[in-house]
């Protein structure tokens, strides 16, 4: 469903590449976590899938199509096949729950009757029955994220990309969201979720692709957040660079630097 062939993305010629020769394939119907510290290139990966940015070299295939070869007027069609969810929900504050979800159908020209039929169904799938007429600020964070997920999948995309969807939520709420994503995945949608929430990854036991400095350092099925297999070379290299053991503290520092960077 998604295939990266030797993909490198350079934003800034003077900095290291955001993604460095990535080779990766995610199959139809799969659920994959993209893990790694902030700045490791997770969002960049998702942006390349959406053709929000173009790869500096290599090729990105989505549903068998090389996205570099999709002409700009056909990009909307590519995006209709991909749902996206963000850490900050991105709901329209003055629209109701129903209207927020319906918006995604209106702008691609779905008829009123189809909208009236589909939106309640999708809201039910994400567990928001009876909240159709609430405004976003009348909902909890978890509920807001459910609205965002409903909007992302209402046009039945084959792929759902989630960029740290639980980043603003507490652990219990996050697990609820994971339940929704899992359900959507069970219905056949390929889900790729970028996260650095180890509890969730450990709980779900799905495929884990770990990025560090734009390089895939691990790709394991049914895996945990941290590898069971020690990566000797990697930790030595880190220790050499920083002069001390790699630790959670180092990762947390990285987080702080990139905090509030919820953009995709």
């Amino acid at each position: 469903m998604i295939r990266f062939e030797n993909v490198t993305k350079v934003y800034d010629q003077n900095a290291r590449p955001a993604l460095d020769s990535i080779n990766l394939e995610i199959d139809r119907g799969e659920f994959a976590f993209l893990v790694g510290a902030s700045g490791s290139g997770k969002s960049t990966f998702l942006r390349l899938v959406l053709k929000e940015d173009r790869a500096s070299s290599g090729a990105v295939y989505v549903a068998g199509q090389n996205v570099a070869k999709i002409s700009s007027w056909r990009v909307p069609r590519l995006r209709r096949g991909i749902g996206v969810v963000f850490q900050d929900f991105r709901l329209l504050p003055q629209k109701t729950v129903f209207a927020n979800v319906a918006f995604a159908m209106q702008v691609i020209g779905r008829s009123r009757s189809v909208i009236r039929e589909t939106v309640p169904e999708v809201l039910k799938t994400v567990g928001l029955e009876g909240k159709e007429n609430r405004l976003p600020h009348e909902l909890s964070g978890g509920e807001q994220q459910r609205v965002a997920i409903a909007r992302a999948v209402v046009n039945r995309p084959g792929i759902l990309l989630a960029d740290e969807p639980t980043g603003n939520l507490d652990p219990t709420t996050s697990m609820g969201i994971m339940g929704v994503l899992d359900k959507i995945n069970q219905n056949g949608t390929t889900v790729v979720m970028a996260t650095h929430d180890d509890d969730i990854v450990n709980e779900m036991r799905k495929r884990v692709v770990e990025l560090r400095n734009g390089v895939v350092i691990r790709d394991e099925a049914r895996a945990l957040y941290t590898s069971m297999i020690p990566v000797v070379g990697q930790s030595r290299r880190l220790r050499d660079a920083s002069g001390r053991e790699p630790s959670d503290f180092g990762a947390a520092n990285g987080e702080a630097q990139h905090a509030g960077e919820g953009k995709l």
């Binding site: 995006r79 991105r90 702008v107 020209g109």
Partner: protein
């Protein structure tokens, strides 16, 4: 559905940016009024050319009591001098250029004068004696004025030879200059209008970046995303153009038709209906202005 959606977006955009939209309307209104004024002047010039060019004549004025020209040193033109001039006009050398001619006596001149200035107090202070008699000559080719001028200006009893066409040309060139000024002012105002439309669209795109961001992500087409912004500018510009057309019509109706045509009854002024011919051009220009300006702005500020 998509149309309804686009219309709703335009409505909310217009309401959200009301003050900017009003200023776009006013700027396009003023700039297109100047464009239209230039157009009206040109229409007026054409109208007068059509009306006058077959009527204009070369006038050979005879010396009268008050004449101060050197050729009139010997006093008013005598009947013999007048007969000589008539003979000269009928001579083959001159007649080949002449279509026809009439003699206008002092009394006839007075009558015409009274008609022309019927509602002006100047009529009362003029007597037939003060007005010169003249030969009114229609040329086959109006350009051949020189022939008449050479043959008659040095004749005894002739005060002056005047080519009415030249007088008209002077008027037309003044009107042309005025329309040039109007076009220049319009040019500056149009630059203002373009910049203002660009700024308005930019603000509008900024205030709706959340919506457009989501539209992009769910795969809305470029047209659905951009059309509301473009139409917002176009609608404002069309309103401005309509106001400008209305103003021109009002000027033609109340000023030209109501005031000037009473003062100058023998001048053919353009009719209000003729100014309405300018309306489609003005509206088209407004659409073009707003359309291109917003397209260029959107390309920079609204990534799709």
């Amino acid at each position: 559905m998509r149309l309804a959606f686009v219309l709703a977006e335009i409505g909310s955009g217009l309401r959200r940016n009301l003050s900017m939209v009003v200023s776009v309307i006013l700027v396009t209104f003023v700039s297109l009024t100047f464009v239209g004024a230039a157009g009206m002047l040109q229409l007026q010039i054409n109208q007068m050319k059509g009306y006058w060019y077959d009527k204009v004549q070369v006038a050979v004025f005879l010396c009268s009591d008050g004449s101060t020209a050197p050729g009139c040193a010997s006093g008013p033109a005598t009947p013999e001098q007048q007969a000589n001039l008539r003979k000269l006009l009928q001579s083959p050398a001159v007649a080949q250029y002449v279509n026809d001619f009439q003699f206008e006596s002092k009394d006839e001149a007075y009558k015409h004068f009274k008609e022309q200035f019927s509602n002006s107090p100047i009529v009362d202070s003029v007597t037939p004696d003060q007005l010169p008699a003249s030969f009114r000559i229609n040329l086959k080719d109006p350009e051949k004025y020189e022939v008449i001028s050479e043959n008659f200006s040095s004749q005894a009893g002739v005060e002056s030879v005047i080519d009415q066409r030249q007088l008209l040309e002077r008027l037309f060139s003044a009107m042309n200059a005025a329309s040039l000024v109007a076009v220049s002012v319009a040019g500056v105002m149009i630059v203002c209008a373009i910049l203002l439309i660009a700024t308005t669209i930019r603000l509008s795109a900024f205030s709706r970046r959340r919506e457009t961001g989501i539209m992009r992500l769910v795969g809305a087409s470029k047209m659905v995303i951009q059309l509301p912004f473009i139409l917002e500018g176009v609608i404002a510009a069309v309103i401005g153009a309509a106001l400008a057309s209305g103003t021109l019509w009002a000027v033609a109706h109340f000023f030209l038709g109501g005031v000037l045509s009473k003062q100058y009854p023998d001048t053919a002024f353009i009719s209000p209906a003729q100014t309405l011919l300018l309306a489609p051009a003005l509206i088209g220009l407004g659409v073009l202005l707003a359309g291109t300006s917003s397209l260029l702005t959107l390309r920079r500020y609204l990534r799709v």
